[in-house]
Amino acid sequence: MTALRSWEGLLFAVLILIYAVNAWNSPVFLTVGNQINMFQLSVEKIIVALVMTFVIINGEIDLSIASVMGLAACAFGWMVQQGAPAGGAVAIALAIGFLCGAFNALFIVGFGIPSLVVTLATMIAFRGFARVLVEDRGISDFPDWFDALGQKGLIGPVPLAMVLFAVFAVLAYLILQRTAFGRKVYFIGANRAVAEFSGLEVRAVKARIFIASGVISALAGLLFAARVGAVRGDIANGFELDVITMVLLGGVSIFGGTGTMSGTILAILIVLALRNGMALENITGHIQTGVLGILLILSVMVPIIRETGTRLIARVR
């Protein structure tokens, strides 16, 4: 437990360091406008990172999230273009997210195929459906209220997506760390066989997590569409890299069983501040993604780094 706490302490120190460096480099960084902007530009990813924390602690992975985001957004755009009321289209897009999650769960829980393989295939397939719907067009004639939700402040300058993130972060924290369901998520992730023999409803827990992942991703896709005010076939493409990096950097083990929601939230703040700092330095998106890739590799190496560190300290003593 102390080791975990110290990892979060380290994350916190890194976060402060990045904030200090960014503030030093750019006078704009600490302004309220930039801070809100920083959150708003990535709010869809960080909402999905919350649910991805459950998925990975549970010993699984969901590579299809970005495609579900894209599919929900494109389905919404397509329905609005066909003349459907936007409110109904939102509901149906969320239902599509539910179905995507349930489809993943069917193959993972029902047929017992590893989530890595299933969600790699559905990552391609869901993205494919999104492309079938919008082809190579862009759709942008959304009702004003929908665009306003993504672009205007809901509470003062704070837009809906950020309010949602705050609410979800608290909920995710409470569910993971304070409920029986959360304990089951850890237990199953740490040792699935023991959990099964202990009579835990392993399949039901996993199915619920994948369905939640689908619904939340669909919601995030809609928020993205509202913020940008348009959808295209490649919307949200590649977001799984950011999301998985945030979760693993937060100290969640890729093999499941360990990690905390506060770790993920700290890691989210680190990634956001890092990207924002790079953007303020005029570093292009491709390079930012490369830096994130390096961060991802370092994150999975965390257990190894930690182990070598303790061994070195022991040797010095």
Binding site: I61, F107, F111, G112, I113, P114, L116, V117, V118, L120, A121, T122, M123, I124, A125, F126, R127, G128, F129, R131, V132, E135, D136, G233, G238, E240, L241, I244, T245, L248, I254, T284, H286, I287, T289, G290, V291, L292, G293, I294, L296, I297, V300, M301, I304
Partner: protein, 331 residues
């Protein structure tokens, strides 16, 4: 007589391939002709190479998602070198591309084998890292056909020989030779069998004295080198290389491998099947573009569902077989 499972799989694949061809022939006018073969064989040559590389990796229970960036990177860097040194002997260039690809692969292999990191995470990261190396060093500028030596762009359409109207290009011959070499290496050589051993039972392989780390490293180097060769062909076929070259090819390679009957959980498979898998995926891809009833935008959805179907069928079949044979090993 009992047909071995592997052979049966290839026969089924061939049947599916022929059936798919016949289906599209019934739907599209003037479909089955030499032009179709000439068009498809060129792109299959490229996909088959990266799929064979991917097969080596998948056999060892790993996956290489960085292939698209390796193909793009080698195409770009090889093009860049040729623009700077147009006098390089043509025979040398493919090997140069393979060496560049092998360096990328070695980076993957080092991280996966040395630190025992999950390959899906490592290669998801290097997919982004390799691409950003490409963007950084290119400064956003593209390679264009007119700056490349003319032999290079002519090479892609150069025929080794022709059979009637069918043109057998050099790139197809090279690709088929690579597949056959890989097949013989994997099935007839001790060093090749280790790839299966690691994938089907890592513990037993360790007890048998097989160095898992070395084999996995080698698998990634092979995957990188073949992606490099594919990058050379890519450069030769298209000439114009932008920073997004090769984007998404990794998914096609995984698709060809899985549809081709390589077990995604490692340990079993056949690269001849992978060649047919690559051909099948490309056949569907090309035909959907020409099929009036369904839009070409279906191809990604079809690819994803095809992979899922192949994996699900494989898992269910394997489980049946194991149940019938209680003494059988791990799947």
């Amino acid at each position: 007589m009992r047909v071995p499972l592997g052979t049966l799989r290839i026969l089924v694949l061939l049947a599916v391939f022929v059936a798919t061809g016949l289906f599209f022939a019934s739907q599209i006018d003037g479909y089955l002709n030499a032009r179709l073969f000439n068009r498809i064989s060129g792109s299959v040559a490229v996909i088959a190479l990266i799929a064979v590389g991917q097969a080596f990796v998948v056999l060892t229970r790993n996956i290489d998602l960085s292939i698209g960036s390796v193909v793009g990177g080698t195409a770009y860097f090889t093009g860049g070198i040729l623009i700077a040194y147009p006098g390089l002997p043509p025979m040398l260039v493919p090997f140069l591309a393979m060496a560049i690809g092998a360096v990328f692969g070695a980076a993957n292999g080092f991280l996966v084998a040395r630190f025992r990191l999950p390959s899906i995470i490592v290669t998801l990261a290097t997919l982004a890292i390799f691409r950003s190396i490409l963007v950084q060093s290119s400064d956003g500028s593209s390679i264009t056909t007119d700056r490349l030596p003319p032999w290079l762009t002519e090479f892609a359409t150069m025929n080794a020989f022709t059979v009637g109207d069918l043109q057998i290009r050099w790139i197809v011959v090279i690709s088929v030779l690579v597949v056959l070499t890989a097949h013989i290496f994997l099935t007839r050589f001790r060093a090749g069998r280790t790839f299966f051993a690691i994938g089907s039972n890592p513990d037993a392989a360790a007890f048998a004295g097989i160095d898992a780390g070395r084999t996995i490293f080698l698998a990634f180097v092979i995957s990188g080198a073949l992606a490099g060769l594919a990058g050379f062909m890519f450069l030769s076929r298209f000439g114009n290389i932008t920073v997004v070259a090769g984007l998404g090819l990794e998914l096609k390679s995984v698709g060809a491998v899985v549809v081709g009957g390589v077990n995604i959980f490692g340990g079993s498979g056949n690269v001849l099947g992978v060649l047919i898998g690559a051909a099948l995926i490309d056949l569907i891809d090309t035909s959907l573009v020409r099929w009036a009833l369904v839009s070409a935008f279906w191809r990604e959805a079809v690819l994803g569902l095809l992979i899922l179907l192949a994996v699900a069928a494989d898992t269910v079949l394997m489980r049946r077989l194991l149940r019938r044979k209680p003494t059988g090993g791990a799947p």
